[in-house]
Amino acid sequence: MAKIRGAVVVNEERCKGCSLCVVACPTHTLALQPKEVNDRGYHYAYMADAPSCIGCASCALVCPDACIEVYKVRVD
């Protein structure tokens, strides 16, 4: 059965750590960095559980700062 795999790239310097993407993610892939901060002091989002991403782009749709790029590939 074909499987969909996805991945996101977060623009770490643009991210403001609002966590709306974390809430919107249906597969609980995303999380905020627990310790690391960007230049402006925000705990930016990252893929905490990368293999579970399905590339649905829910995170990118709700991101107010347009800092998420979504990639999706079909694995046969």
Binding site: G6, L20, A24, G55, A66, E69, V70
Partner: protein
């Protein structure tokens, strides 16, 4: 399969719109303004009208909208965006003219301009961000503030006997003959964002087709003004704001 095998240009399905530039937005983390800016940038690019789009920036948090989207902008005096949009759409009828206003701008100081522009049926799109508060100046009560809602100027909650009732101005505008499309949307979930995008697209298309005034109200959050986290503000909005400001099309001619 490794993540680096997935992250390739040919697999990209979503990214920052090309019309949105690299300036960091001044909005607070989690502000709905950013999502609506993104939708406007995506739509103007997808509809191929970026070259003839003219945005009217308001006074309020979105006053610096011209810093973030690479299209033509004009900055209006407080509340006067529909008056300026009237002038531009009449002088340059081939252009797509839209205003981007908050509730303090559109529903308080600009009520006169808004209602008369909509009543004249000017071929403009009004994008109305309703967060029930004056966000930029520090969270004072706006006409749209809900009854009992705490703000900087109503610290014990808005009282009907003192402050009157919340103003659902979009409902008023839907009654006018000049408007062709009046809708109320939100951007708190991925599904709502898709619906809001479709609504703004329809409004832009109406303006291009010269059908009259289109108004898209986006019920949104002001997590700083409401003193909540962005996620909690979205939940609060879904619980309380949609009761007074129910989502959906109010008029579609």
């Amino acid at each position: 399969m490794d993540v680096n095998d997935i992250i390739k240009p040919e697999n990209k399905v979503y990214g920052k719109p090309v019309l949105m530039n690299d300036n960091n937005m001044h909005y607070c983390p989690g502000c709905s303004h950013g999502v609506v800016h993104k939708l406007v940038a995506e739509l103007l690019d997808e509809m191929g009208v970026a070259e003839k789009a003219v945005g009217i920036a308001p006074v309020g948090c979105a006053v610096f909208a011209y810093n973030y989207l690479d299209i033509d902008w004009v900055e209006a005096a407080h509340g006067r965006a529909p008056a300026l949009a009237t002038a531009i759409s009449r002088l340059y009828p081939e252009n797509l003219v839209f205003t981007y206003q908050g509730d303090g701008d559109l529903a308080a100081i600009g009520t006169c301009e808004t209602i008369h522009a909509a009543n004249r049926g000017e071929n403009i799109t009004i994008i109305f961000i309703n967060n029930a508060i004056y966000g930029m100046t520090g969270g004072q009560m706006a006409p749209t503030t809900l009854i009992g809602m705490k703000t900087a100027t109503t610290p014990y909650g808005r009282r009907v006997d003192l402050n009157g009732y919340p103003l659902a101005i979009t409902d008023l505008l839907a009654r006018l003959d000049g408007t062709c499309y009046v809708t109320r949307q939100s951007v708190h979930t991925p599904a709502a964002v898709r619906k809001a995008k479709a609504a703004i697209k329809k409004a832009f298309q109406n303006s291009l087709d010269k059908k009259g005034t289109s108004i898209v109200e986006i019920v949104s959050t002001c997590n700083s003004g409401w003193k909540m986290s962005p996620a909690a503000a979205n939940d609060w909005m879904a619980e309380h704001m949609f009761e007074k400001y129910p989502l959906g099309d109010l008029k579609n001619v």
